[in-house]
Assembly symmetry: D3
Homo-oligomer: 246 residues x 6
């Protein structure tokens, strides 16, 4: 048996809203093991909330940019946007493990039931999440991706309405789609976990929490991204205007 | 029967190398119908060649940025990087049709044989292309994605070695993977089409050429991206640092 | 830039109803480029409307038979029946490109939205269309195939009822199946395109129109069916009673 | 326990070669139960051997035509061409069960091992077989479809060379593709079953034999084609030139 | 033509309820050919009805145990539980063919319609059946697996309520899921076949009946489980406590 | 941040070989967090090594039996056999999380590279592993499952030959199958992790280690198996001879 592993994990918000970064950081800390330091980072450019493709691609670049400008050592990086692009770029850029909350949540949910459903924010986010799960090879046991109709920032500003909407969709997923587990499909839904669990009676997985445990596990196991092919470091070449911020 | 449709198509390179943009523009013009004006654009930032995830995500943003700064009217946009990210962001941003050369080439190849193979540049590009074809739902009839081992810029600097390498992989695809059609998996391979065809005896599809015909067809049919869900315009919100260049 | 390509395209109806052939020919001409001559052909035997497997296999043979008896030069052939068998036989028989409207429509729709739905005639046609999309590798992004309940010949005889029925299914596809694009699943629906578009607010793709643009594109690109394996010319052998008509 | 069921099964060759029809009939009789009368039929038009799409579509129609002109009662129909089109047309046309040897063989093989491979005649037949297995939903446990390089009529004229070629491919399938069962992919390979079995040490399934047992089973179970949707009888309509022969 | 094949088939119940074994035996005999002797066996341990994973794994072992203690010769074994584990163990253990009623029913249904649905007992059995069909590679043409809400033992004790419940689900499957064939998803539903057929108008397949015909067919064809890889006999090794009963 | 979670995890061997149980226990302890007590258990009946279906089904029951007879409290259970049956039975039986090393390893590997390969013991184990990955929905990014040709017990008795054989297959997987991560496909391979890593240059995932981190994560997150459908507790009923051992 070993002593507690000391590590620092960067948890990077995909949007520029500091209060959301703070919330994500708190959720991460609630779950983190002793010895794990959580550093929550906010991208320096991009959208105040990420709810579509344009914003997602911008976030992919902004997250890489933000991590590059963090000059202390760290042991892992979590990208804390549900259904967003970018994890592959981080894996190429970095030597430390990279965990995307979309995959951590789905992967964790798959240990808990035959099928899982994701409940997310706006309907327009649903196809983005479906595509990320498809790419990750985690789609087959996904019963459905449903939307609560709440915008990302409304999760913070109208938490009661958010809970009701999310619970309604979760119940529909269990009743109609045969989901046995619910995944909260937005980095900003973290605090709703217990309430949704109580009201639906099924396990509820929050991506930030799941990602923290996955990142800690990878670090403890001494595992990181393979560099033999897809995520080998970028070949040296002329780059213009990169990183975006100095 | 109608008169020739007048239209302008933007063909956007994914890398910052002007000579490659020029070559892409020439290939596009060779194929374009009378009445079609081709405007070839170079992103203002990014990598001199795009061969990996980081560079691809950067290109996705740089291409959107470049198109936004083009202030003349246009009827369609072609993203001219094989296997790169970004088409979905353009579809959200724009009202005109958007065509990615990866999909135009695969889709066109599927009219010509039971299975097609893609021959691309470096081996590291292969998984990126596989993923884009998977997302596009065009993967099932893809026999294989093979790499010639040539870097993107070497296509320009060492054309003879490039042709030999590409032909060797094309022949292997036909012989071993049962491909009946070859797709050239790089925007910079356009000029090699005829030679590869002669030496392999199978149809060879270049993505830029195919994309021009697809874009022209969509314009002529009066069809453009649906705005009802996935590609609806981004919701109004606070954006920081976007567009990247003024 | 080149001058307008001169070409002749045969557009072959799958049923024996001359008025439908005429309508298909008109739709094709509305879309065709200057320089494209459309020749609409009617099979010499078969069913007055093709709505099932027996009729479809008969049509496959009748279309090949009709093309073989056309003794002027031509540059491409379009098979204008939605969801019908036969395209593979034509590809084997001919050296010029062959385009099936089922595939042209689906393929075109896939440039316009995350998912597309097909609205066809009778319910019994639905599985035939599903099977052809599966074979073509274009099924994964098909949200659904719905039927309007109208028989093929009723499209001509009761156009108003047809439009209402088709629009109702299209709306259901968008609302319930998350389709973002509608494909008109019958060669005889061509004239309904604009009305369905107006009433549903989504792009609507007609197969005959799409196929004309695809065929023109293939001819302009100098591409045709690969002859190395699946569609190699039939080996010389004793044939009895073929072609069916002299 | 019941007495032996009396039944008559039509076994229809897909090609016009009488000696092959005779061989197919003999194979069927070797397997048939007491009480089963086998009637082997030859289509009245078509190709002397079916090895490609054109020939296959012609066979689909010729087989339907031949069955329609058989005016004695019968209890089931077997279409005895491996990988050919047409079974769906027969199912629509007839009230009695219809069995295609491609599916009977694959289905039977799936009871005998984790994966099966098909060994067929010419390489050009491979994609046709793959497509029929895909349509039938029997493809996933198919390890491979291999070709012996023998033409259909060479099976009769050069049986020793045929056996050697088939055994070589069967051995490769077991060794390289992990097949545990071999399916003979041609109606004319029936007599080679025992030899291939001896030389490879794995179960070998002949389609004609398998189809006879399946057809007998369906008749004994009182099961036949569902008429509620896909295979409902064709709607009454004007047909021209059908049946092809009187 | 041959004389009737003499054979003995063991039909092994998965649960310990003798009256159900008797019913299964009767159903098997109703279908069996002259010359086929049916021996119905009851496992010596396990659950009185198998409706979940624990019970299913126990049944897998109990069925193997029961067959090992049957000391007369036999020609084939049928495992008569719908959606249960174990067939692979029997295939490894035995030299004679092994048929699982789940697969026999699905496979038989696939000859009769474009899609089939299974109607089973409790809702909790649905995912078990879905998984077995997935493993068997027979899932793609399965429109749905529905539950009647009846427990296995209630089929015997409340047959009228059972029929009504099963018919209701079968009708929903045809109407809403586009099933064209119904499979009875429980070994104990055999006697309901005719009634369900009458009331729904579609073919209904009982697994025990289908499995008897499949087993007889394999024996007549001289086919049995391949021993080259997956189902090779277990390597000699130290076993503790096996067989479970002497 | 919280204090170290105290928990007890049962790690159950699938075979009856005590020295292997000890090795599994040591590997688990090497990875376990402070506060995690590992209890390694050996089934009371079954095979000395599990390498096939019969042995696997027996192990499924023996593992459930062993856990039921452990009468101290525990927080999670790990089934430590690669590619074996049984996890679903444990999930039904228990309220605490259950982790199968097959899934933990595959799932972990998927964070580290585009594709992973499994290297296991005997060739006959390969299809069992393929089937478990298919059921788990973790198969799509599995490049291949390869066998080293070593029997389970030979890993202990001939460790040098084992390492060489495993490394050879791992290298082939990276070179030929484009795997970027290797999963050790046997509970008994744990100690070889570092060596295989050094010699291949890719990340190597051991299932026991991965499973410990997953189990700890689930306990810390307060997540366990959903009881709403598939894994609801078994209904009360008459059981005979269960548990097997008192």
């Amino acid at each position: 048996m070993e002593g507690t592993t000391q590590m620092r994990i960067l948890v990077v918000n995909v949007n520029t809203t500091e209060s959301m970064t703070a919330g994500i950081g708190e959720q991460a800390r609630r779950v983190a093991a002793p010895g794990t330091e959580i550093v929550a980072l906010t991208p320096r450019f991009g959208a105040e909330s990420v709810e579509g493709n344009l914003e997602s691609y911008l976030a992919a670049v902004a997250v890489m940019d933000r991590v590059l400008s963090y000059d202390q050592p760290y042991d892992a990086v979590i990208q804390a946007g549900y259904g967003e692009h970018g994890r592959e770029g981080l894996q190429e850029l970095l030597d430390v493990p990279v965990v995307d909350i979309t995959e951590a949540a789905a992967s964790t949910a798959m240990y808990l039931g035959h099928r899982y459903s994701v409940v997310t924010t706006l309907d327009r986010a649903v196809p983005l999440i479906e595509d990320r799960l498809l790419l990750a090879g985690l789609d087959r046991r996904c019963a459905s991706v449903r939307s609560s109709g709440m915008a990302v920032l409304e999760l913070e500003s109208e938490p009661e309405r958010a809970v009701d909407a999310i619970v309604a969709e979760a119940e529909a997923a269990v009743r109609d789609d045969h989901a046995e587990v619910i995944v909260l499909g937005c980095g900003g839904m973290a605090e709703l976990e217990a309430t949704v669990r109580e009201r639906t009676g099924v396990p509820v997985v929050d991506g930030v929490a799941a990602a923290v445990t996955v990142a800690e596990s990878l670090v403890r196991l001494g595992l990181s991204t393979s560099k033999v092919r897809t995520y080998a470091p970028a070949r040296p070449k002329k780059m213009t205007g990169w990183p975006i911020t100095r």
